[in-house]
Symmetry: C2
Subunit: 222 residues, 2 copies
Amino acid sequence: MPDAGDLPVLKAIALLGGCRGPVRVSTQSLSTTLGTSPQTISRRLKSLDSAHLITRNVDPSGQSVEVTKGGEEILRREHAEYCRIFSRTGGHFILKGAVISGLGEGRYYMSLDHYKNQFRINCGFEPYPGTLNLRLIQQSVPVRKKLDSLEWTTIPGFSDEHRTFGEARCLSCRIQGIPCALIVPGRTHYPEDIVELIAGVPLREELGLEDNDIIEVEIGYD
Amino acid sequence: MPDAGDLPVLKAIALLGGCRGPVRVSTQSLSTTLGTSPQTISRRLKSLDSAHLITRNVDPSGQSVEVTKGGEEILRREHAEYCRIFSRTGGHFILKGAVISGLGEGRYYMSLDHYKNQFRINCGFEPYPGTLNLRLIQQSVPVRKKLDSLEWTTIPGFSDEHRTFGEARCLSCRIQGIPCALIVPGRTHYPEDIVELIAGVPLREELGLEDNDIIEVEIGYD
DNA sequence: ATTACTAGTAGACGAGTAA
DNA sequence: TTTACTCGTCTACTAGTAA
């Protein structure tokens, strides 16, 4: 969660191509495009840097700045919200990937009453304790990115006496007709070719899946 | 030019459907979704209201809010910038519309040296003093809206001793192969089915156009 | 329950300056 | 030219209160 005023600066850097590689900027140039003072830009850049949303190389003649994965994620989410406002086009997406073994963390989280209830309310099924992890085929990675534009449900986090549990986003989908949900834990930086799924039934058993089996996930949005 | 902090509030209203009709909100509900205080929301709503970006009906049980054309335009521009960051897809668009008579304002502006030079630099031709106005056919109106996502060039305004002249945006296009540019004056609220074009030659003469002739404008983006 | 005022405070801004 | 510090000002915030 960057400071509200940092976002325009991040966006300006991205518009200059900062998501694709380092771009040279100066506090002055950014200040004119954003209609503020160089001092403020300097402060904002420092803030973005310490929030790990950009990386930079400062030298006496200026600085070259690059947007990090985390920064791009924030921009992508912002983009998704605007898409939701204007493009109310439905869509149908297919993700294809290979079954892989997760770390078993999903099983633990899904066993917690809080998440169980939340998913029951939001997805229409009580999650089987355990998640199915897929490594997407290369062609599905851009499709996965597009999904960020759809309307994900946010599952709030909670905390007990020992620790806090983060929020997560989920999106309904189907695998061979079985209702499932893609879930993305709150703040973790997932590899972009990995997705995690939950369902009301043990998917591996139900579909007879083994590691490396290729399956399709269907996201219908209507 | 709304206050920077107003934008998230405007966006939140739009996400609730405020672009399509009035939505009921409360300062409290918005404050939780935006992570701020109800007081701030109250102030922001007032600010958006007085900037004519929203209209609202306040009653003792809450308020219903709707995003105005002007508000939508700001959001659409924001959306366009994010599109420019992420979707670097080219595209090819055709606008179809009927030739109509403008107010002759375009002729005046295009006769000013400042604009002449700017357009020469940015569009590759010195604009013939006079603009061609089109009333788009209905099917072209949504296409026109999509164009906002493309990379328009901003022509800065200027001021002489008497008055100030606003900025404008332009986008290269072609009519029957002749290089032209769509131009949109800075802050005016154009009817969404009207577009204005400039070229290096007198288009009406060159193409033998009369009022109500239907022509096609080609926007190729590469 | 609302909205929106007032008041006090915290923090952001930009001018000036140094490196 | 840069970046980024300090510092005084002023804006924007939230708490409290009224309607």
